[in-house]
Symmetry: C2
Subunit: 414 residues, 2 copies
Amino acid sequence: MSLIVTKFGGTSLCDLERVQAAAQKVVACRQEGHEVIVVVSAMAGETDKLEDLGYSISTRPDPREMDVLLASGEQVSVALIAMAIQDLGVPAMSYLGNQVPVYTNECHQRARITEVGREELRHSIDQGAIPVVAGFQGVAPTGEITTIGRGGSDTTAVAIAVAMDALECRIYTDVDGVYTADPRIVEQARRMDRVTFEEMLELAALGAKVLHLKSVEYARRYSIPLKVFSSFIDGPGTLIVEEGESMEQPEVSAITFDKNEAKVTVTNVPDIPGIAYQLLGPVGDANISVDMIVQNVSRDERTDLTFTVPRNDFEQSLEILRDQVIRLRREAENPTRYEMEVIGDDAIAKVTAVGLGMRSHAGIATKMFETLAQYGINIQMISTSEIKISVVIHEDFCELAVRMLHSAFDLGTD
Amino acid sequence: MSLIVTKFGGTSLCDLERVQAAAQKVVACRQEGHEVIVVVSAMAGETDKLEDLGYSISTRPDPREMDVLLASGEQVSVALIAMAIQDLGVPAMSYLGNQVPVYTNECHQRARITEVGREELRHSIDQGAIPVVAGFQGVAPTGEITTIGRGGSDTTAVAIAVAMDALECRIYTDVDGVYTADPRIVEQARRMDRVTFEEMLELAALGAKVLHLKSVEYARRYSIPLKVFSSFIDGPGTLIVEEGESMEQPEVSAITFDKNEAKVTVTNVPDIPGIAYQLLGPVGDANISVDMIVQNVSRDERTDLTFTVPRNDFEQSLEILRDQVIRLRREAENPTRYEMEVIGDDAIAKVTAVGLGMRSHAGIATKMFETLAQYGINIQMISTSEIKISVVIHEDFCELAVRMLHSAFDLGTD
């Protein structure tokens, strides 16, 4: 019999009616003749509430204890979903991370899943029950509770699908699929029937909050078909598949944006080996994740180094870099070579075109720049990968840029 | 070094200030030179909230899943208390039932603790940390989460004190000790410095909600001194000790009452062997706990059987008994012998005088009856044990009776 892993996110469990609706979907899936495993997140808002509680007790809460605290959210939802399934006359059993077990490394708050036990879940299914597994949480070799990072329940679902040789992994969320652009901004945005893992990886990384990045990577590595459905309205959803399976290969599949970044520039950087590391090292040491990094060719042995950081880390990044610039000058044999300046701007937006077809089509970048120029939108930074082009622009133009690009690449509904 | 187990109830953890205050008490205890283990309940109201959630999903929620659901309450509070202790500069580590482990049998919702692991807690203390243990929850041999019944955290604390050879077990609660009567009813009620386990067992069983009955039994069996303190105001508390240690042995130590019972009477019961079992058996089978049972000598081979049940179970008890009376008559060879009638009254109160000194002093009962008669209070039932006398009266006279008895036995402050 084919096994299907179904995952319900927090918004799909925002109240008791939603919990019951989720249970009905699970039971329907089983009545179609599938074996089913359910993976659930905490009820909507619960993880935030628990996190706030932790931070209200301690400004730097112990990661080990934060994991204990946060894991309680999924514990509540597995019990409720299991009860709701039982109430429909189908046996169900909840499993916490340590009961499956979902083994992880010991890195609290952002642990990595290392192995998923099959036996307990298999036994449960063979007994005729539907196992309901707590997402987001695992157990370290020490027996301690770990969590795998916010949004991690998607990854738990895929990891379980992999371990149990599932036919597919269904993610129920608050949108009915993956769109060509955010429908709140682009009226003509269209739900895609299919999207490749590669494209989805870029979309997830760029902040299209449908699926968690790690879960897409994981599903791609082990070739587990992922399906995204709405838990509110029935529909065909979006299937995330291997490249070969996707028939259409448009140049551009989707336009996304990210307004949660800020831009930091170090000007007048001496063009000597190791300088980028000397500047960016301390930023990384402070656990600030640097995204786009742009450095142009130097003139007069001088260049500018620009990068983006999460907007929350903007002030700290400026501070770290200014300290580092002072330190480098003080320690330099020739201080005049180190007259750098650190400037920043947090009123930016990153707009990105993603498309597998980009690889074989020239002129996508040109068309993108042309479109932006047409509306007088200045491009501050450019960064490209094989299947995406990102530009940084002033945040005021973000929505306009997304709409115009969506239209220029003809992504909308007819 | 001497080890002290300190337990904080839900009202001692009603908000973040209380959590921090509890952490301060723990750290102070350690600074006095003790090794400390903390046991905590869920924050005030949380267990009720979780229980309501469960019952809102399912009218008969699965006991296994209810345990998973309810155990999440203590999971939140151990993490918060551990963080709060850490914030005071002292290492702390939370432990869930399965991490200690607190082993129990498999009886969900009212499991019995069978063994407490020492190693993890010892290791944690030897590392300089304060272990913070989730009360109320345990783990069955199957690895499933169990809970040991509402109010069970006291028992967890005592079980851990026993396993770890603790010097004493301190229970922090919302009252500053055990009183000679409920201070809300008797203005002159006096906090007792000491009370014996035997007396405390009667007081706990009678609904003086300071300590959970099981925890007192457990502490007595293993001779662990129990101390009750208020977590709101500093004070000497009440020490619960072995009989020998108590210097004063007043005839009566305390007057308690219970308004949560109802009275059921079967009249005209034929005086034949086994009839009490035939009548009360089905009540017990329905998991209704029968408290006082009174049957007087028979007249004309007829007697009346009266007993009390929790007021919540009153209607069901009447129903069960009426069915049973009909069944007995139908099945009887001589039906006329089985013309019984079932009547009930739920407007009753049980008032009890407890005192170790009762054993060696005659006349306590007489004084009690005399006092009640003096105020025209009719006694409906009487039941005695070695160290207590309970009477059932109309509930309207409950407070008056408690006050008058408290005064008659001279229990008040001078």
